[in-house]
């Protein structure tokens, strides 16, 4: 069936290496497992660097052309970062060897990375759908592996929402195939029901407002190492999908601006620091979505570059919080503090991640976020630009200051612990080096963006204004803290859109179910009463004592027969024939 034979037989689809690797992981133990986990992304990267641009391994199914392996600049960029993320993540999780659940985590993580790679190299919607669902099915084990009641429940909610997103994507793909005769995964746009369905499916995975709570619900419940993987792949695949199918869709600009702004309010009052990072993640995706909505080459470059960088700095931040979780068993701001005393290296690495996400000059967030900001101004969206500027100050506030401050400084919690194991430390150091490296030498990233870049972030104006914004944003924190106005970290739950399905829906179902049950029992009881009465009547008539069922003595029967015969005789003789 293949109609396009690849040039090199070694030109493998990247997902294949990971899927085969995932199958091999449980077969080996000890050092072999370590070697295998690290070798998978390395072998993948060697293969990736040799990939030929083009459409490969095409085949025809039910008259539709499937393209499971499409290589171009956009898919390659996400391919690079997913390989980097898989390597860092596997290194970070290398020490897991306690029980079978740790093996499950290794397998799930490698398979998850493979699914993400399959999705970004998918050239058609059907292949995309398959990997879309695989993303959910593999990653949910990284949540369940925590094995707390909360993580099991959160994992199920996560799974349901993502499977639904996949089903919506599939429905959109089928309608589109029917209407256009093609399942190609290219520009789609919002025209027609199929476009809307695919947009919604992407929106769920991308954590659009009101569809975002699966992220803040499940990521804090994942294992210390699992959440690092979770933060790298799912949402970035969705961003990739939007950049592919909906660039220049204006509504995305406003969705992105809302995404950049509203989560920071939650992040300020949220106590669980990994949930703070979850909200901060939505905030960062907002910048990407906004860039895709603007849709110019500069803006889309900015969006995908920011996705690339977000994998690094958000991964680094989740890794430092994972280290805190591993060593202290806590991630709540109200229970932590003073850890810099015994985890100084982790503290510094966390601050590197914080500086990167806050877009300090020389850190990688700066070189990608500014592309989007500049595009917003250039294309005439000053209000959106102001919103993004506010969000930039806000992200510094909640991710840049709050995360390191409440975990490592603040009031001394009295916890004395130690640095995480060497493999986790090494993974964090690599992440931090990449953050600084890309921030300092952005040309290496710019050279790999989908469109040619004619932009340089390091000019006096830009550096100065960014530093002013950040320093005075920090001034707000300092002054509010010194005056005691800063809201304290409190053990709490903050209501969000999830209230609708975690609080309202169960109660509604209980209410409605209760009402239905009440009506049901009344109807059935009265029917039963009716039939019982009916039966009683029938019983009275034809029961053992009833008139109809009485046993008559033989004598009276004979008498009656004789009477009947006599009547017949009477009629006979009195008849007209006589």
């Amino acid at each position: 069936m293949p109609i396009d034979v690849p040039l090199m037989p070694v030109d493998l689809p990247p997902f294949l290496i990971f899927m085969v690797g995932a199958a091999l992981v449980p077969l080996v133990r000890g050092w072999l497992r370590y070697a295998l986990l690290l070798a998978i992304p390395v072998v993948g990267a060697v293969n990736l660097l040799g990939l030929e641009v083009g459409l490969h391994y095409q085949l025809t199914l039910f008259g539709y052309t499937l393209t499971p392996h499409r290589v171009d600049r956009m898919s390659l960029l996400f391919g690079y970062i997913f390989h980097i993320a898989a390597f860092i993540g596997n290194l970070y999780a290398l020490h897991l060897k306690r029980d079978d659940w740790d093996t499950v985590q290794h397998v799930a993580a490698v398979g998850y990375a493979g699914a993400a790679l399959g999705a970004v190299f998918a050239g058609d919607l059907i292949t995309l759908f398959v990997f879309w669902e695989l993303l959910a099915l593999t990653s949910v084990f990284l949540i369940w592996a925590r094995r707390t009641p909360e993580s099991v429940a959160a994992g199920f909610r996560y799974l349901v929402i993502h499977v639904v997103s996949g089903v919506i994507l599939f429905a959109g793909a089928l309608i589109r195939a029917h209407q256009t005769g093609s399942v190609e995964f290219g520009f789609i746009g919002l025209d027609g029901i199929s476009g809307l369905l695919i947009f919604l499916a992407f929106g769920i995975k991308c954590a659009f407002p009101f569809l975002h709570n699966w992220l803040t619900d499940s990521y804090p419940e994942g294992t210390a190492t699992g959440t690092v993987f979770l933060s790298a792949f799912t949402t970035k695949v969705a961003v990739y999908g939007l950049a592919r199918a909906f660039p220049g869709t204006e509504i995305l600009i406003y969705i992105g601006a809302v995404m950049a702004c509203f989560p920071i309010f939650y992040a300020v009052i949220e106590n669980d620091l990994r949930r703070v990072l979850g909200y901060s993640m939505i905030n960062q995706i907002g910048f990407m979505v906004c860039g895709i909505g603007i849709g110019t080459e500069l803006a889309v470059n900015g969006a995908v570059a920011h996705a690339f960088n977000d994998v690094l700095f958000k991964g680094l931040l989740f890794m430092t919080m994972g280290a805190v979780l591993l060593r202290t068993g806590k991630t709540k701001g109200s229970e932590l503090g003073g850890l810099y005393k015994t985890m100084p290296v982790t503290t510094i690495l966390c601050m590197v991640g914080a500086a990167s996400i806050s877009a300090f000059p020389l850190f990688n967030g700066f070189v990608s976020k500014s592309l989007v900001m500049s595009a917003a101004l250039e294309e005439g969206y000053p209000t959106v630009w102001l919103a993004l500027l506010f969000a930039s100050a806000g992200v510094f506030h909640h991710a840049g200051i709050k995360i390191p401050f409440f975990a490592f400084f603040a009031h001394d919690s009295g916890i004395r612990t130690k640095e995480p194991p060497a493999n986790m430390m090494a993974a964090m150091v690599i992440g931090a080096l990449l953050c600084v490296g890309i921030g300092t030498f952005p040309q290496f990233l710019y050279a790999r963006l989908p469109f040619e870049v004619d932009y340089w972030p390091y000019d006096t104006t830009h550096v100065l204004t960014q530093l002013q914004l950040l320093f005075w944003g920090a001034g707000a924190f300092t002054s509010l803290k010194l005056t005691g106005l800063y809201p304290p970290e409190l053990p709490s739950v903050n209501l969000d859109a999830e209230w609708s399905y975690r609080w309202l829906a169960p109660r509604l179902i209980r209410r409605v179910g209760g009402a239905v049950a009440y009506v049901d029992i009344r109807v059935r009881t009265s029917f039963l009463n009716f039939t019982e009465a009916l039966l009683f009547r029938a019983y009275q008539g034809s029961g053992p004592q009833g008139v109809l069922a009485r046993t008559w003595p033989t004598g009276s029967m004979l008498l009656w027969v004789a009477v009947l015969l006599a009547v017949i005789l009477l009629f006979y003789y009195a008849g007209p024939g006589v």
């Binding site: 100084p344 920090a474 924190f477 106005l485 609080w503």
Partner: protein
């Protein structure tokens, strides 16, 4: 880099907070000095850490204030090429950053009245 980031710990290291010579704990070694680049204080035997000394916190805060003020004053000397009219304003970015952040924190604090529920709020619904 550490100049910019290290001011974070400042405010909470106020006197009265960092108990000197607290529980010896199980801490591994005397590496506490790593926490900051400037004003790093060599550690004592009673395990006093970097920001346990109010003096260090003060140094940090004052360094931060100096840099912040210098950054705004730089507006006087640097010619900025700008796109948006507001950007022309003296100290616009600093002001926007400060006001925006104060607004963010105080309104989030108010939002707690509506949004905050006790932990385990969803548990009985599940």
């Amino acid at each position: 880099m550490s100049d910019e980031r290290n001011r974070n710990p400042g405010p909470d290291g106020r006197p009265g907070h960092g108990e000197v010579g607290e529980t010896p704990g199980t801490s591994s070694s005397s590496r506490s000095g790593d926490g900051g680049a400037h004003g790093a204080e060599p550690e004592r035997s009673e395990r006093q850490y970097l920001f346990d000394k109010p003096r260090n916190v003060k140094i940090l805060l004052w360094t931060y204030f100096a840099v912040a003020v210098a950054l705004v004053l730089a507006d006087l000397f640097v010619h900025r090429h700008v796109e948006h009219p507001w950007e022309h304003l003296f100290g616009f970015y600093g002001l926007y950053g400060y006001v925006g952040s104060v607004f963010l924190v105080l309104s989030a604090k108010e939002l707690r009245r509506v949004l905050m529920k006790p932990e385990g709020f969803y548990d009985d619904a599940d």
